[in-house]
């Protein structure tokens, strides 16, 4: 079951809301238990067998967390349990996500003579595994508190974030569930949540799914398109994944808001970014935050210790030398983006995507480090030029993300750069659609700005229309009804979210 499945929208969500309101009257614990139960039901709709994996993962991590809490006074024992927990989580992820593709790769290369078959990837395994690793690390650092099994299960499984994020810290969600007023449906939150969800549904079923056909045409026949068609297909996919993931994030935030739970922002107009560094602060924000906190920062600590041990500095000046830049900036960046690529899946295309972004980020940091702030080049590379330039490289990297193999990605790149000439021109409909999506992503406010939910700390965006604030007015109601009726008519369980495969 996905968020755009009619069964989810018209049966599951109303049942979850009604049940929550009912059980909340009995008490806090029963309301929590009900939400946890519904989250397992939500997960089981995809494949009931894999509920066992989810339950097993929760029990394992919960046990480790208890053992870590018990060993609070003994630092080394606690550390050992943490390491065990992380290895067990990564082991589970490796088994389901990487083992069979890797073995089959060896078979294809003729290095091994055996048929391994394949194994279905449990939905959302990357997300619930990362959430739980973060919990264990935070528990060790004292940034998370011990929970009852019920609370912990809800923290991991709460259905708005279970299968594709946002990747949530314990402290972002569980304190909210401790507040008594959360156990009463707040009509303002319900209506805001429904509006938010509706906007996400529109992005997914009308915009993302509408663009999928053009993207699929290119990627199902790589190496057969003229340059114009290849660029159209690559653009279509870039926009498809934007609206798909942005739509998903809106739906997740809206669903959580129905229960008066506020999730962190996961998406903030990434195509308005003026650099790749800026892009990653706007795209899948919670994953970037996770990688920075649990991969990049520890790596930097290790590098810093090594440099200090060998008498090298970590200063700004050291960073501005070639050796220092490579050691302090480029190395941890490329390692982090490589792991980000691997996180998306077992395939060379994802590794290429990660490395490509590693290179982008390194160049971007080198630019910031080595090009003087007031230089003519810096002045030129700002505003719309910077947005367009960044977007160009995002489209280029999206090709390797979408292609089914490196060879196919290479074929699409060759098409884009004119192997078969310019090819046929875009049709009028294609031009109108392209114009429309560019207007939306570059000139319009994003969902949280339209709803007045943008936070102080969020990066500001330029837009043609002034940001608004949602209110239960006739105008908002009419707009939401129209968008909901149209989007629901196109809702289908057949078109899963692209991020569900991760």
């Amino acid at each position: 079951m996905t968020f755009n499945d009619p069964g989810f929208i018209f049966i599951f969500v109303p049942l979850a809301i009604a049940g929550f309101a009912l059980f909340a009257r009995i008490g806090k614990r029963s309301a929590l238990a009900f939400l946890t139960f519904m989250s397992f039901i939500f997960y089981a709709q995809w494949n009931p067998k894999y509920v066992v994996v989810l339950v097993g993962s929760i029990l394992l991590n919960y046990t480790v967390s208890r053992l870590m809490t018990r060993a609070e006074a003994r630092e080394r024992v606690q550390h050992a349990w943490l390491v065990f927990g992380i290895i067990a989580n990564l082991g589970l992820l490796a088994y389901f996500k990487y083992l069979y593709p890797s073995l089959n790769f060896l078979v294809r290369r003729g290095l091994y003579q055996h048929s391994f078959g394949s194994i279905a990837l449990p939905l959302g395994i990357s997300f619930f595994t990362f959430t739980q690793i973060a919990y264990l690390v935070d528990l060790k650092r004292g940034a998370a508190s011990r929970e009852t099994l019920l609370n912990y299960s809800l923290f991991v499984t709460f259905f708005p974030h279970l299968v594709a994020g946002p990747i949530i810290h314990h402290k972002e969600m569980m304190p909210q569930f401790r507040q008594t007023e959360k156990y009463r449906l707040d009509p303002a939150d319900v209506s805001l949540g429904v509006t938010w969800f509706t906007m996400g549904l529109f992005k997914k079923v009308i915009l993302a799914d509408g663009l999928a056909g053009t993207a699929n045409d290119l990627f199902s026949h790589p190496g057969a398109a003229g340059a114009l068609q290849a660029w159209l297909g690559a653009l279509a996919f870039t926009m498809q994944i934007y609206f798909d993931f942005s739509g998903y994030s809106d739906m997740a935030l809206g669903l959580a808001r129905i229960f008066s739970i506020r999730f962190p922002m996961n998406f903030n107009s990434p195509f308005k970014a003026t650099s790749v560094i800026d892009f990653w602060q706007r795209w899948h924000i919670t994953l970037t935050r996770y990688l920075m906190k649990y991969v990049f920062s520890p790596l930097l600590v290790i590098i810093s210790r090594r440099r200090q041990a060998s008498g090298k500095s970590m200063s700004r000046r050291a960073r501005a030398t070639f050796g220092g830049f490579v050691g302090i900036v480029a190395t941890p960046l490329v390692v982090t983006t490589f792991l980000a690529g691997v996180w998306h899946g077992a395939g060379f295309t994802f590794i290429a995507y990660g490395l490509l972004h590693g290179v982008y980020l390194t160049i971007n940091h080198a630019w910031r480090t080595f090009v003087p702030p007031q230089s003519r080049m810096r002045n030129f590379m700002s505003g719309p030029v910077a947005v367009g330039f960044t977007f160009f490289w995002i489209v280029v990297s999206a090709v390797s993300f979408r292609a089914s193999s490196l060879h196919n990605a290479g074929s699409v790149y060759a098409d884009m750069f004119g192997r078969h000439g310019l090819g046929r021109y875009w049709s009028n409909v294609e031009c109108i659609v392209a114009l429309l999506v560019f207007v939306i992503v570059w000139l319009m406010p994003n969902t949280q700005e339209l709803l007045g939910e943008a936070q102080q700390e969020d990066l500001r965006n330029w837009s043609l229309v002034r940001p608004t604030r949602w209110e239960p007015s006739m105008l908002w109601w009419a707009g939401t009804v129209a968008v909901f009726v149209i989007s629901a008519a196109y809702a289908s369980s057949g078109n899963a979210f692209l991020y569900f495969q991760f």
Partner: protein, 336 residues
């Protein structure tokens, strides 16, 4: 201090009331839209104007009421495009009609419904020839267990009644998906009219009706095998049991009943394995044909392939007739 703070809760409560109204009215409008879709889906107008053009051809079993064909051809989409009544008529001299429906209809309504509807409005045929693709077709599949809008539309248009209302309540997910699909079809048509004007649409129903129910594929022959994700085939044992039951059920309602398998493209590797495993379960031989005899999905015959397969069916009929004549002759001799 208290007086100063008093208006705030009042303002808050009015916002809460407005928010509650906001959600309730939104839900009511959607319920109204779904109810409207429910009514619309039962109307012939929806079938004639709003449903996707390729679905408008379904329901030939009902349109053939009173035709009293000597040979009734039935089966899934491979039979629909692969058995041409005009060929059978010219080869055997018997009147023929094709009442097959596509798999996405049969999986919802069940294998029996269109056939029963035909038999209820016609005299029993001399020959009932059914033909099925080598896919995952299940004769015992229970109605409404699967969701395909095509099948739901068939039910809404041609099989309304207390049974259907009960089934819709038992399958709320399918029901809602179908009603949304109805809304989507209407919106899509509206959009097409706005963007493209009113483009000329192929009248698939007239095409089918003009050929006694056969739908000869309006596509050029395949040049190579098409690739699909793996199909979930049903086991040969289950196929045998359900085919036997099917025969048992209809043997008394028709002169002769045959259950055939339609050919597949010889380049279709997965299908080849399948054919090998079901050999002997059908009344004809499972066959592999060159890919250019097919028009789509390695199993749907092009008109040229349909002619060849129809000729084979005609020969099956002639063989039975011949056998009958011989038996009749032997009986006459014995009586003399």
């Amino acid at each position: 201090m208290q007086l100063a703070t008093r208006p705030i809760p009042q303002a808050k409560s009015s916002v809460l009331r407005a928010a509650a109204r906001y959600v309730i009215w939104l839900a009511l409008i959607e319920i109204l839209a779904l109810s409207g879709a429910f009514w619309v889906a039962t109307q012939p107008w929806f079938m004639d104007h709003e449903a996707p053009p390729n679905l408008r051809m379904m329901g030939y079993a009902l349109r053939a009421a009173g035709k009293n064909c000597d040979v009734v051809l039935y089966g899934d989409s491979t039979a629909l495009v692969g058995m041409d009544p005009s060929v059978i008529q010219s080869e055997t001299g018997l009147t023929a009609c094709n009442i097959a429906e596509i798999r996405t209809v049969l999986e919802v309504v069940g294998v029996h419904l269109p056939l029963d509807q035909y038999l209820a409005h016609n005299r029993p045929p001399k020959f009932l020839i059914t033909a099925w693709g080598p896919g995952n077709f299940d004769f015992e599949h229970r109605p409404m267990e699967s969701y395909f809008p095509d099948g739901y539309l068939y039910e809404f248009q041609y099989n309304r009644g207390p049974w259907l209302w009960g089934a819709l309540i038992r399958h709320p997910k399918g029901t809602i998906s179908f009603l949304l699909w109805v809304q989507g079809s209407i919106l899509q048509n509206l959009l097409n009219k706005l963007v493209l004007g009113s483009p000329q649409q192929v009248d698939y129903r007239s095409l089918r009706d003009s050929r006694d129910g056969a739908f000869l594929f309006p596509q050029p022959p395949q040049r190579a095998c098409e690739q699909f994700p793996s199909m979930p085939w049903i086991s040969p044992a289950r196929l045998r049991t359900s085919a036997d039951k099917f025969k048992e059920q209809y043997a008394t309602r028709t002169g002769h009943l045959l259950v055939d398998i339609t050919p597949i493209a010889d380049c279709f590797v997965e299908g080849r394995y399948r054919i090998a495993s079901v050999q002997g379960l059908y009344d004809n031989t499972a066959q592999l044909w060159p890919v250019d005899k097919f028009a789509s999905m390695n199993i749907h015959l092009a008109p040229q392939g349909a002619r060849s397969f129809s000729e084979q069916v005609a020969r099956q009929i002639e063989a039975i007739q011949q056998q009958e004549r011989e038996t009749q002759g032997e009986r006459t001799v014995a009586t003399r």
